[in-house]
Symmetry: C2
Subunit: 280 residues, 2 copies
């Protein structure tokens, strides 16, 4: 039979395509990947799926249990719903390779990905280097690898899309030790916090990757009716309240080309208007 | 009012999203951009739009007549349907800037773009440089700028997505001179022809950008039920019949990383099987 990777887009249940919906209607099993990304917290994918049961494929499932799904796909029509476009994350490429190895037929239903949707900033999509993820820092864990990647992108004249961490279905250390299935409330990193973390590393490393003067776009709820795209220096953006999740941050290469510059100026004016409206 | 840029995805009328369909249902005017890209020749977008009239926005319209559309958007709900994701092509960024200048509110409904869908090859989407378009050569016009861009991408360690020319609604020189609205049959460049044109420039320039040994992916009808993704050297791919349009070609940077290499091998084996099946 077939393993379908179906992209469900950026925001909510209305972002699915007619083709995706059609495949789901005839599927035997439906998994929803909730590990690399999620739709907006208010999304309700069940709404468009009718009576079908959705099995959540969390981190543990994808890392340890996905053989079950692959085995099912040898004699059933199995669907894995993935936020965005299915093959932008390495996790899914890897899953696809494993399906090929088991001679399972794979079909992909594409959808919008932040990789191309980020074009809504006016920045050229091919002028982006490797996408990075900024994880929540804690006292014991403050990784710097994303800083190195941003630096490398800038050196090559490229912008960097920073995806900000989400923590859903996390257990406290205590509950994990006691093997209790009790989960903390979900957390979504906002743009302000991402900038703070960039500053923490900048202070340590001092390699001029994330200065208060660095040009950036803050992007909230991209693709939704109430999306917000503002541009400015990191210092300017750090004082803006972008509201509800999900947030992303683009660190720009300083040399914007002509059209990019115009978009930056418009989004910068929008930011200043917003800050002024608030301080009145 | 609002000017909506609605992405309609890669293949046919079933690639539209529920959100896109909802906006279309309440729109006053619907334009379909048919200049930078088209859906597959068999697509029938009218099928999902019901009784709504679609106005074709061809090259002439976008370049000369789009002020009409912008003016309508000041007091009506106007939709521009765009193949793929609306902001991957500079043409639409430019249109969006002009809308901003006229204080028209712009909303974007994202969809799948070849920019992210090309991840279906197994190549990492951020390892692609600037996308190029390969135009049909004729006796008088054989531009080489795409060759230079591929060369630059390769030098930077990046793959190149080559979009192949389509000619729809073209007039013969004779009919154009006489201002007769008679159009030639549509033409779609196939992968074999794209390779031939790359060889023509390679022979002239000799800069080792497109050799028979260059690694590449040939991609036909991406995102459709009968898509075909094969990998090999340009020499191998040049003898494959990829069938119906639309076709694209990816010229790979020679140093593939581990996962990319595995995907290449699978797609190369698929190509060899296909060639053998034919010669039996």
């Amino acid at each position: 039979m077939v393993l379908y990777f179906i992209g469900i887009g950026l925001c909510d249940e209305k972002d699915i395509t007619l083709r995706g919906l059609e495949v789901i209607e005839s599927a035997d099993k439906i998994y929803l990947e909730s590990y690399t990304a999620i739709l907006s917290p208010n999304a309700n994918i069940e709404k468009v799926l009718g009576k079908k049961t959705i099995i959540e494929a969390d981190r543990k499932f994808i890392e340890e249990g996905s053989d079950i799904m692959l085995d099912e796909a040898t004699n059933q029509q199995v669907v894995l719903l993935v936020v965005g476009d299915p093959l932008c994350a390495t996790t899914h490429s890897d899953l696809m390779l494993r399906a090929y190895e088991k001679n399972i037929q794979v079909e992909i239903i594409h959808n919008a990905s932040i990789i191309s949707a980020i074009g809504a900033t006016g920045l050229q999509v091919y002028k982006f280097g490797e996408t990075v993820s900024i994880p929540f820092f804690d006292n014991n864990w403050q990784p710097e690898s994303f800083y190195d990647k941003v630096k490398l992108n800038m050196k090559q004249g490229l912008h960097t899309l920073c995806l900000l961490d989400i923590k859903v279905k996390e257990q406290s250390l205590d509950n994990m030790m006691r093997n209790l299935p009790i989960f903390e409330s979900p957390r979504y990193m906002n743009i302000n916090q991402a900038i703070k973390q960039l500053y923490i590393i900048e202070k340590k490393r001092n390699e001029r990757v994330a200065l208060p003067s660095t040009l950036a776009f803050g992007v909230a709820r991209i693709g939704s009716k109430n999306q917000l795209i503002l541009a400015g220096t990191l210092e300017q953006l750090s004082s803006v309240d972008f509201g509800e999740p999900l947030h992303s941050l683009v660190l720009c290469h300083p040399e914007l080309h002509l059209i990019e510059k115009k978009f930056f100026e418009i989004a910068n004016k929008r930011m200043i208007d917003q800050l002024e409206a608030r301080s009145v």
